[in-house]
Symmetry: C2
């Protein structure tokens, strides 16, 4: 399998519709692991980094955790290819921009990715559609166990897993969900929800992690601390407490909007759909905003002739690197806006033709 194979379709965590998918786009669990007796990547020599890549890659092969895999040696890939992986949430932006020896191993369905020599020696990530943190947590535990048979992790009974950044020390686990919160945004309650989340020690970020804006009403919510809590506690708190609370809040906001301001809200949805189907130039940020309204329209049963999967797919395919990969060329922003508009029009027209309906 090659990188190009994954460019032209949606990642499974986006194209499958998991539980609570009206609000929860995806669930992500990530483990930070480091090898015993090696400096953290930031302090490694290139030789050491090569060693780590080799050791971890071999361990992954032996462990059999990932059959249909693709190993991407970052040095072999262009800036655009790496940006594509960022857009698909397979690697972090920092990792893409780094210049040190590093490689990432991705499963064919893109649910699993293993970054070698990011901030830690190994970052294991599992990404699922919908709210499936428990399932993801169980699976990543198995993966972690399998790898541990072939790798010596840096671990102390007192602190747990040692990591480059103190916030990851302990379980090394980060749990996050990507939420679509247009209801809270439109009703003006998003700020209050974000303050409440911060009070619960949750980190809230935009769609592409730290420092990115909440484009298209997407919010990524994750745990801030891993020390002093068991992994099960973290996952349970998320699954049983935090997320249901926000989910409920968002669904109520949507219901209120449709009951009290149906016309205003329908107006926005139908305009968003019409414009996305008709524009000749559309920026990626505008696209996310328009898709957000279309997605809301589908979830509120106002828009019935567009498939939710199509919209989810377009979130990804409309991003700048994807647009350029689809077009097989580096493009200036205005050219991207043109190619993007054409793509959006085609895909939304196709969606109609196939007559796919929402389930």
């Amino acid at each position: 399998m090659k990188l190009n194979d994954i460019t032209r379709r949606a990642a499974s965590w986006l194209s499958d519709s998991g539980p609570k998918h009206d609000v929860v786009i995806s669930s992500r669990v990530r483990l930070a692991r480091n090898l015993l007796g090696m400096p953290f990547p930031g302090r490694c020599t290139e030789d050491q980094r090569r060693n780590i890549c080799h050791t971890v890659t071999e361990a992954i092969k032996k462990s059999g955790i990932c059959d249909d895999q693709i190993t991407l040696n970052m040095a072999d890939y262009s800036r655009l290819d790496r940006e594509l992986l960022v857009e698909r949430h397979l690697i972090s932006r920092q990792y893409a921009q780094d210049e040190h020896t590093r490689s990432v191993i991705v499963s064919g369905d893109e649910k699993l990715s293993l970054m070698i020599n990011e901030e830690d020696h190994l970052r294991i990530q599992l990404l699922y559609s919908g709210l499936r943190l428990k399932q993801a947590f169980e699976e990543i535990n198995n993966i972690d166990d399998s790898l541990a048979r072939h790798l010596d992790y840096a671990f102390t009974p007192e602190y747990g897993y040692l990591t480059a950044c103190p916030t990851n020390v302990g379980t090394g686990l980060r749990v996050s969900v990507m939420l679509h919160l247009p209801g809270l945004k439109l009703s003006g309650e998003i700020e209050r929800a974000m303050r409440a989340s911060r009070d619960m020690k949750l980190a809230i970020r935009g769609i592409y992690g730290e420092g990115t804006e909440a484009l298209g009403d997407f919010y990524q919510i994750s745990n801030q601390l891993t020390l002093g809590k068991t992994e099960e506690q973290i996952v349970n708190d998320f699954t049983n407490m935090f997320i249901p609370a926000i989910l409920d809040y968002e669904r109520k906001a949507r219901q209120q909007l449709i009951e009290k301001n149906r016309l205003e809200i329908e107006d926005r949805m139908f305009r968003a759909l019409a414009v996305t189907k008709s524009s000749k130039l559309m920026s990626s940020d505008e696209t996310l905003d328009r898709l957000s309204m279309i997605r809301l329209g589908i979830n509120l049963n106002c828009i019935n002739d567009i498939n939710l999967d199509t919209v989810n797919e377009l979130y990804l395919l409309s991003r700048p690197a994807h647009i350029q990969k689809l077009h097989n060329a580096e493009l200036a922003p205005r050219e991207r806006d043109e190619v993007r508009s054409n793509m959006l029009r085609d895909r939304l027209a196709e969606n109609r033709k196939t007559g796919k309906k929402n389930p």
Copy 2:
């Protein structure tokens, strides 16, 4: 014929497409006339105003200038009905809001309207689609001559026709054209064009005359002075000099836009059409802006499946009083926005179904 008969269709000056209709919507000539030995309406008693109404109405009947006519005694009509007549350019806004005895006589095709007891005893207006000032001027001259046989006008050899406002003294003629200038607006050259027009002693106003904004890129251009120029000079200057210059300027601006910024301009046109076909709430001002872009799209052959007549018609039918008359009820602004959206969607869908094409 009754007022209601004219509500549901476009005025002929809008639905016919006259010469140079890509830029010139309509041509208007107006004569201000007063009766000898009577104070101007602003200084009349109600008795005198009634006398004037009677005298002028009788003269119109005897003159035979208008067969299929409708006489509207303003006092019999509601605020909404009067507003409708303003939107159709049959009476002035001041005249609609006035409370004195007054009546207007309108021809069945709405080309001719005769306002009694506006600022002057009699205002005769002829309205044609496209650039047809000469034809309109010849016709209004004939009308004026016919009426003069039955009315004694206030006239002095030194000043010409006497009028309530000194700017009308002389010929009493005002010549104006309504221009659609989206090219100059989009290219940012409209201010320069307006300054140039003012230098030529032309008055530039919005779509509904003095003090109204240039909604939908419509501009009404008229002569400012009537004293010291013959009527023929005024009409000739307009037809042979002023209007061709602006027309040329606007057409060049459009051509430049389409040559240098085709995508940007198409983007705006197609978005405007898509939004107009899909909105659930649309204000009358937004409607004019959207229709302006659609009209430009049709004239530049970018939009081929919408009929120009339909768009012209919608300019009128989407105005607040028309919306309420169509709906047979007084409506609050938000209700109007809803009815307007539905009407726009229906009419644009109908236009497609009938398969009417632009000539």
